[in-house]
């Protein structure tokens, strides 16, 4: 099999640096307000795009199950809160659907 070590090391670097840099430089220097707002929005826009991407790239035949799973997680999280509960509920629900209708 092909070795992915260069990729892994590169990804390690670009994953670690964004996590580390704020710890080092952000102790007392404030960011420009516009940049700060831009960065504040990134988690939400990232999640929105990631979820849509997950649905669009679901393996063929699993589109409906994926959408249902995301909806179950959303409803569960809206009503009850809690990541673990929502994730488990979604996994179990999708498993149920795939077993019954798959």
């Amino acid at each position: 099999m092909k070795s992915y070590l260069p990729l892994i090391l590169g990804m390690m670097l670009v994953t670690f640096l964004p996590r580390l840099i704020p710890f080092i430089i952000l102790s007392d220097r404030p960011l420009p307000p516009l940049l700060r707002r831009f960065l504040t929005y990134i988690p939400y826009t990232a999640l929105g795009a990631l979820i849509v991407r997950g649905i669009m790239q679901a393996p063929s035949g699993f589109e409906a199950a994926t959408i249902t799973g995301v909806c179950v997680a959303a409803v569960c999280s809206w009503l009850k809160g809690g990541m673990v509960l929502s994730v488990l509920a979604a996994i179990m629900f999708v498993f149920f659907i795939l077993t019954v209708f798959g």
Partner: protein, 219 residues
């Protein structure tokens, strides 16, 4: 700790998927051990499968992980003064999940709390990857496929409480999701770039069109 329940199945899904894509057990293990980034690792597998070059995958990972800048930044201000060596460990353990849990904690954040939260997450991530790789393909297809939903269920469960706090979050997520959908539906950009462009465009739109936030950032 309940975070194990959230991490382990998703890590297993990563292990299973990396085997499917043709990554060796050792590399799959190293991915989780050294990178420790759920979304990025899944994206990397996707891009490997799409035949993308190493450099492009690293760039895509970098842009995807820029969101951690903000997460780290918002945690830094809540942490007491800490020694440098802890700082490196804590920075390594910042993920969407540990951030979401740590930032939702109401009381003050301690080093020991953060480190144990991250340590447990890390252990379940790495062990789940190996477990998934080894036993994954033995599991029935229905189980394998339902594990894959875990990641998106997790993203949803992180996003929804934020939407409950502010309708602006919903707008941002929807704008970004729609942008992504348009770009990838019409095949405007190579795979991997659609995500980055959608994130950047939607965040920029937020900066342009939203009036100054009522509360600047989080605490």
């Amino acid at each position: 700790m309940p975070i194990v329940v959230g991490y382990f199945p998703v890590a297993m899904a990563f292990g299973i998927l990396s085997k499917t894509v043709g990554v060796s057990l050792q590399d799959s293990f190293l991915f989780s051990l050294l990178v420790f980034a759920g979304a990025s690792q899944f994206m990397a597998l996707d891009l490997i499968r799409a035949g993308m070059m190493t450099g492009s995958i690293i760039l895509a990972t970098f842009l995807l992980n820029l969101r951690h800048l903000m997460m780290s930044a918002s945690l830094v201000v809540r942490l007491p003064q800490i020694r440098k060596r802890w700082l490196f460990l804590i920075a390594f353990g910042i993920t969407d999940e540990t951030f979401a849990i740590a930032s939702l904690k109401d009381s003050s954040l301690g080093i020991s709390y953060l480190l144990s939260l991250q340590g447990i997450s890390y252990a379940s991530w790495v062990s789940g990857t190996v477990a998934g790789y080894l036993v994954g393909t033995v599991l029935p297809d229905a189980v394998q496929n339902s594990l894959g939903i875990g990641l998106y269920a997790m993203f949803t469960a992180i996003l929804v409480p934020e939407i409950q706090k502010s309708v602006r979050v919903l707008l941002l997520a929807v704008i970004s999701g729609m942008t992504y959908m348009l770009i990838s539906f019409f095949d405007l950009l190579p795979s991997g770039w659609s995500l980055i462009v959608a994130i950047v465009m939607a965040s920029a739109a937020g900066v342009l069109f939203f009036p100054d936030p009522v509360r600047e950032g989080t605490k």
